[in-house]
């Protein structure tokens, strides 16, 4: 994954595009790069990201939304990012189990609801994604928020017309993430990784008739961040025949 480059190295990397990089600069680059493996790839410098509208995200315009043709859930409530560090199994587990705001593991927020985390007021946003995935980088960038070393809480409600047995929650995320269905932790993936469809898959679950709450926590270290979620049926085919909703949407 692309990593942001900080400080001195950032300035050096800016010079990389210039013709005939001087030998001293080059040497300095190599020395710094050798000392900072994340920088060895020489990726993007750590300039503040511009505030750019999230081209892949929209405000929901209907009460409910069916999954897309491949079964992906495209409607979510996203909480503005919380500072977080580390992607290893234990660190991520500790990060997502820490209580940041009241009813963290049970609340089904409304669009525009606010919580206070570490003295900062954070807002829940209802979104529809145009794609199979939800681009959290777009989301955070559109709000002028951090995209690196952050935790995103995401929630949606699956409306099942009948009880559905032997289904599985299938997720992919950049980077680590942990997921709950109706309050039960069902799957998690860890480490610095990119979103791969059906990367993490739960054991067989039952969706009850009516509302089922799907909750996720996505932890990103640096660079792009997104996630995708769908249910698989007993034959590992995309589950359909349900809708998702996120309650009222602020106008």
């Amino acid at each position: 994954m692309m990593k942001f480059i900080e400080g001195t190295l950032m300035k050096l990397v800016r010079n990389l595009g210039r013709p005939s990089l001087g030998p001293l600069t080059l040497t300095a680059f190599l020395l710094v790069a050798a000392a900072n493996t994340a920088a060895a790839q020489g990726r993007a410098p750590a300039e503040p990201a511009p505030v750019v509208p999230a081209a892949t995200l929209m405000v929901p315009a209907t009460p409910e939304k069916a999954p897309d043709a491949a079964g992906f859930i495209q409607r979510w409530l996203l909480l503005e990012p919380i500072d977080a560090n580390g992607l290893t199994d234990n660190v991520v587990q500790a990060t997502v189990k820490k209580v940041y705001f009241p009813n963290q593991f049970t609340v089904v927020p409304q669009d525009g609801d606010k919580v206070t985390v570490g003295g900062a007021e954070l807002t829940w946003h209802a979104v529809d994604t145009k794609n199979y995935n939800v681009n959290l980088f777009h989301f955070a960038r559109s709000l002028g928020k951090k995209t690196s070393n952050v935790l995103f809480w995401v929630v949606t409600v699956v409306n099942s017309p009948q009880e559905m047995h032997n289904v599985r929650l299938a997720i992919g995320s950049n980077a680590a993430s942990v997921w709950w269905v109706n309050g039960e932790e069902v799957t998690g993936i860890y480490g610095d990784r990119q979103t791969v469809i059906d990367d993490g898959v739960s054991k067989r679950l039952t969706l009850k008739k009516g509302q089922n709450v799907v909750r996720g926590a996505v932890v990103n270290a640096g660079g792009a961040t997104d996630f995708c979620v769908r249910f698989l049926d007993a034959d590992d085919k995309p589950l359909k025949g349900f809708t998702v909703s996120v309650g009222g949407v602020r106008k």
Partner: protein, 521 residues
Amino acid sequence: MRKTMLRNSRLPWFFLLCGAVLALASIAFALDGQIGIHDPSTVVQSDGKFYTYGTGGSALVSDDGWTWRRGVTPGRTGLAPDVIHIGDRYYMYVAANSGVTKAAVNMIWSRALDPDAPGYKWEEGGVVASSDGIEDANAIDPGVFLDPNDGRLWLVYGSYFGYIRLVELDPKTGQRRNPNDQPRNLAINCEASDMIYHDGWYYLLATHGSCCRGADSGYQIRMGRSRKVTGPFLDHQGIDMLLGGGKLFLGSGGRVVGAGHFGLLDLGSGVQKFSTHFEADLDRGGASVLDIRPLLWKDGWPVAGENLKEGTYEIESVRTGTALELAVEGMPVGGRVARGGGRGGGRGAPGGGRGAPDAAPGGAAGGPAGTGGGGRGLFAGQGGVIPSQDAAQVSMNWPAGNIGARMGVYLLQAQQKWNIAAAPNAGGYPGSPYFKITVAGTDRALAASADSELVVVPAFTGAPEQLWRIEQLTDGTWRIMPKSVPNSKEPVALSAVGSSFATLSKFEPGSDKQRWLLKTP
């Protein structure tokens, strides 16, 4: 020369099936010399040398593709260059970020890559692709591809923030063919992409996972294929790379972690290789290093092969199924046994019948109870465990001096087992050193004779005709070529003639007579 123990063989399954089984304890080789580089460009040949360029202006050059040294920084430096040779020009594409996702790919070109060559001068060719910091792309990590069908030139680029994109270039100038054409999206959630063509399919190879974390780097090369250069590129499960699909081509294994930045190195005559870097070579302190490996094909997909590892092998002809052997009389493993079980008897001694049902367990000719003896008679064995045959048991009967080589039915005999080991300080070829091939347990070395035949000499001297270039072909079999033949400049390869003889002859890519399986005895 560096050697590493193979600890986690990642051989393709068909490679196992076709019998080219490598011993887990065999020796793997990494390239020799100064091979530290990150994000290497596709290895290209120029005036008999091999070149690659990496992030930050690093450059490597090699005379033979095996031993590498530091090269000269090109005229423009940046991120993850790629290079292609078209006509009399070498085009280099190299990127730089000026913001989080604001980036540009610049082209420079030169008529030579050797700084001492008359045509060596890097000229600026301008920007061929860019991203504005807002759009869903990060215009770095270029990969350039010349379509062999129609000569059109393409550039793929991108890195994680958004899409891998495709734009068309002008092969006459290396520049963008039409800057107003919108780039096409081919993949997502990856970087370091490149494209190749094979048998009616375009393949997009891109790197997933994390770079730049040493031995914690999850870098891995994945791929999809399409009938059209413009996609869609689907993986083996039918998942579009635009949805994050990708069939694994190469990840970590052995003593190296995190493969990335695929580049095709086509040596012709059915020999394809690829260049890559590994994020961490455990035998080089976790440094990022260049590697070159065989490129194989199976069921319409490229497969990452393995360079030959040192070990003892049966060398079996794909064509005939017979094995290369020293032309001496063989001794059956365990000694000669007369029919019927009598050891050392003359031929035709009466036997005990074909598995007589009343044969007593552990009978006269059979093994003791519990050792698997089959009872008295023809199939009774000789009792106990028969040790493997090695040269020390039988070589006293072999003539001194030069001995011929021939082919025979493989019977696990000493003259049929060959030790293949790197020849010290003898150089190599892309991906491997030259090898010496000796009868296992002896110093008797396989050599090319002046008349392009085979001979086994009493001792290895390091002469060129005793050095062997052993390369995996695209079907997973092996081509075995002497470095040279005395008084000849014609490259030749080990070739089956009939079922019982081998010779050296010009390599014919479409034939199976020069394809060999290397099996562990």
